[in-house]
């Protein structure tokens, strides 16, 4: 049976990037479809009627939704190529815990920064950096969260690196001064084709953020 894979996504979405990285790490071919979220395609609405969000991975006509769930699905179906989750239950639980932390704390605070301003934004930026420091402590001296190789947590977290420049310019600070090890880790990940191909140009992300804030009437 031919493996038909279609990924509904947007170039700037860190959630979509996770899926692209996972697929490319495993050398899996897929068709990429850029969605216009202001004018969602019939296909997206049909494949994700509940959330109407990207990314959605359509595998032989069946939709898989939610980036973390998609990455786990890809890891299970193509388990023999570049495994992302560890094989033992306890390290797997740890990986899932930290991926959940990335979603609930890091990405959530990071997202809120863009829809606020003034003191509120400043405090959210501080919260965001706080979470990055927690992650940095977890990384320790390992090259990757996955140990010697990139794993589930690396794939979950690294997309936000493409947004770092936007945060730095907006907040007038540098991540390097707060969490140098994490920045080093991100650059290490960027040496992988799967990552450098998935992450967009940080300048373009910054332009996108400015447009977004204009559209929302914040700036």
């Amino acid at each position: 049976m031919a493996n038909e894979l279609i990924l509904l996504d947007t170039w700037v979405s860190p959630f979509g990037m996770r899926v692209r990285i996972a697929l490319r790490e495993k050398g899996i071919k897929f068709e990429y479809k850029e969605e216009d979220l202001t004018n969602k395609s019939d296909l997206l609405l049909k494949m994700n009627p509940i959330h109407k969000k990207i990314p959605v991975l359509i595998h032989n006509g069946k939709p898989v939704r939610e980036s973390g769930i998609i990455v786990q699905y890809v890891d299970e179906v193509w388990h023999d190529k570049a495994p992302l989750l560890p094989s033992e239950p306890y390290p797997r639980a740890q990986a899932r815990f930290w991926a959940d932390f990335v979603d609930k704390k890091v990405f959530d605070a990071g997202r809120k920064v863009w829809v606020t301003k003034g003191e509120e934004q400043k405090s959210l930026m501080e919260e965001f950096i706080g979470h990055l420091k927690t992650l940095e402590a977890e990384l320790g001296d390992e090259p990757y969260f996955g140990g010697e190789k990139m794993g589930y947590v690396d794939v979950t977290m690294v997309p936000i690196y493409s947004w770092f420049h936007a945060y730095e310019v907006s907040g007038n600070f540098s991540f390097e001064s707060h969490c140098p090890k994490l920045v080093a880790w991100a650059k290490r990940c960027m040496q992988h084709d799967s990552v450098s191909k998935a992450l967009p140009d940080p300048e373009k992300v910054y332009e996108y953020v400015l447009q977004l804030r204009k559209r929302l009437g914040i700036e």
Partner: protein, 232 residues
């Protein structure tokens, strides 16, 4: 043997009950430790320094946090008895989707909003309840035509959903608001009755009256705090 598995939980937490049930379904002996959340134990703070929340499972000294992460750990470690997740990767992805839906949409986005709007009987609460009812309809749609969310046997999603929805009926009684009625959600109600009739599942529920009294007391405390803030 019992010392090998410890569960840090609280008697009223639906998240705690998920783990209790998962462990019982696997036929596991465990040591349950009731936490006082106003005075967290050293063990809890050491075992979950990041979130400092229950439930926490400690297996052979190794702590695991976040109820859905713990459930997957239990399922993977004790694979052979009563599997919670299906074997097929696609079916697993669907189960994970619905468990996440319950935690994010039913609980976080909406229930806490309605819960917080304890005293605002106004538009904010109405909107929250409307949004909430949409999410419940989605959930019911997923269950329709099936014995359980897990199919023939109950599994991961059933466990994730049951205690939350049970808690809703308690909240409904306390708030005297229509959050979840049989008329609106007949499929969900039938499923809940089925699970309530299961001895192992029912054994993980807190005593009803105690639970209602507890939520009522919390509501009264919240009302008092809110009125003090308004007065100040």
């Amino acid at each position: 043997m019992a010392k090998e598995i410890k569960l840090l939980g609280t008697w009223a937490s639906p998240f705690s009950h998920r783990i209790e049930l998962a462990l019982k379904l696997k036929g596991l002996q465990f040591h349950y430790l009731e936490e006082d959340l106003s005075n967290k134990s050293q063990l809890l703070l050491q075992s979950n320094p990041v979130h400092r929340k229950i439930p926490v499972l400690i297996h052979n000294g190794n702590p695991i946090s976040e109820s859905l992460v713990i459930m997957e750990y239990i399922d993977e470690t004790w694979q052979h008895q009563n599997p919670l997740l299906p074997k097929d990767p696609y079916a697993r992805a669907v189960a994970r989707f619905w468990a996440k839906f319950i935690d994010e949409k039913v609980i976080n986005d909406v229930l806490w909003t309605a819960f917080k709007a304890y005293n605002d009987k106004g538009k904010e609460q109405e909107d929250a309840i409307e949004e909430f009812s949409q999410q419940l309809k989605f959930l019911e749609g997923e269950l329709k035509g099936k014995e359980y969310f897990g199919g023939e046997r109950f599994g991961f999603v059933d466990i994730a959903a049951f205690f939350i929805l049970q808690f809703l009926t308690v909240l409904q009684e306390v708030k005297e608001a229509e959050l979840m009625t049989e008329e609106k959600y007949p499929v969900l109600f039938e499923w809940m009755e089925k699970l309530q009739g299961n001895e192992v599942v029912a054994g993980c529920l807190p005593p009803r009256e105690k639970h209602v009294a507890y939520v009522r007391a919390r509501r009264a405390a919240a009302e008092e705090a809110a009125s003090k803030t308004k007065a100040a």
